[in-house]
Symmetry: C2
DNA sequence: AAAATAATCTAACGAATATTGGAATGTATG
DNA sequence: CATACATTCCAATATTCGTTAGATTATTTT
């Protein structure tokens, strides 16, 4: 008969999650953490913000229990506190893309760019990759590949792509992916590959989108 | 080759959705609107806030494109701009319940209350309701029932329940539901029914949870 | 023990937000 | 045409939040 549990109390706690995802920087940090656990320094570098600012944002994320930490020597590794957090990020992003016209047109411009793969379905992509009809490359940093990647994908970080071009077959089609639809590394990879005579496309999926749609991830 | 689309731009727009759901009051308004479209006055009354404050919150929800309006005479009816908005509310709520211990214990106290139905599966509930083995009652205001309700449920608003008790069979089990897990109307209904000798339980699902789990809604 | 490094903490500032009360707008009603 | 009513607009306040900078803690390395 505990009447201390009042309605506002419940909504306030749910709103804590809302507040945590109400900042662009924090959303970017969540997306980065969805690629695997990372140190504060690395997160700050990849989000192009000051370490101290990153630390402050990570603090509020931790207070909302969306991330957890693990100490290893003088480094503190942050990770999402569950796969549901990554799914929430995707959910919010999809609602935004559904209803915010400004965002939608921006994304349509990106999708209409010459390097977009014309609505290739995930399953057929998977089977083509398995059969070797296409080569799927993961152009994210190697650590993110190690934390989990698409099936049959090989790691080919953007920074090393030019140097390691010889590893790629010149005849078969290359399909590049990176962190998700807001990540532009795969676009750059495709540009570079085409300049060198390869047949290359990108997919906007990252591992988060891939697994949120029920498809398997290797690691 | 439009390089004007910058990364921060994308995250900022997604964060607009985050900001919209970062306030307890707005979350409550979203949950109320998930029951069907409502006027500003009604929303203010049901959320127990001033009409002008409700109007202000609805304004920010509308600027985030989460709600839409329709004028009818001197009334303005607000509605969610899509079913994905209701699903987002459920998603945020579930993440909160998964990670915020304070919220979890509060809900466990509520779930452990004597009127909680012990993890009845939705499908079996549906078949029992179809066969007449149980009577499902919707204790929300009649307008919300009209906007959509569980299959085989009959409208029995909490305010009229006592007066209309004769409509309910005394032998069969009654299952009450209302707006969702944070709504306490079904608890009150169960308390009242048991006092009068009925066998009554509640389910925490509302129409939003029900349909978010792929089950059909009647209207 | 001292220096270096990763991360956090503290203080401070301006910007954004929630809430309140009063005034204004638009629509229907007598 | 005046009044009533639903809703929005506007201004003012207290509060919270994001960001920056400097100082501090904890751990490793020399």
């Amino acid at each position: 008969m505990n009447r201390a549990i009042t309605k506002p109390f419940l909504y306030e706690h749910v709103a804590r999650i809302g507040k945590a995802i109400s900042s662009p920087k924090r959303l970017e940090l969540i997306e980065l953490l969805a690629q695997g656990e990372k140190t504060v320094e690395l997160l700050a570098e990849q989000a192009r913000i000051d370490t101290r600012l990153a630390s402050a944002h990570l603090r509020t994320l931790r207070e909302a229990r969306l991330v957890e930490t693990r100490r290893e020597g003088k480094f503190i590794h942050y990770r999402l506190s569950g796969p549901d957090v990554a799914r929430l990020w995707i959910n919010v992003r999809e609602v935004a893309e559904e209803h915010l016209v400004e965002l939608r047109v921006a994304l349509e411009q990106m999708a209409a760019a010459p390097d977009a793969l014309s609505s290739e379905s995930r399953e057929s992509l998977l089977s083509k990759a398995r059969s070797g009809e296409i080569v799927v490359i993961d152009v994210r940093p190697e650590a993110e590949y190690a934390a989990g990647h698409l099936p049959h994908a090989r790691s080919m970080p953007l920074a090393e792509l030019e140097r390691r071009l010889a590893d790629l077959p010149i005849g078969t089609e290359i399909v590049a992916y990176c962190r998700g639809p807001y990540c532009l590394m795969s676009d750059e990879a495709v540009r570079l590959l085409r300049r060198r005579g390869y047949t290359a496309h990108k997919i906007t999926d990252g591992v988060t989108e891939w697994s949120a749609n029920g498809l398997p991830i290797e690691s």
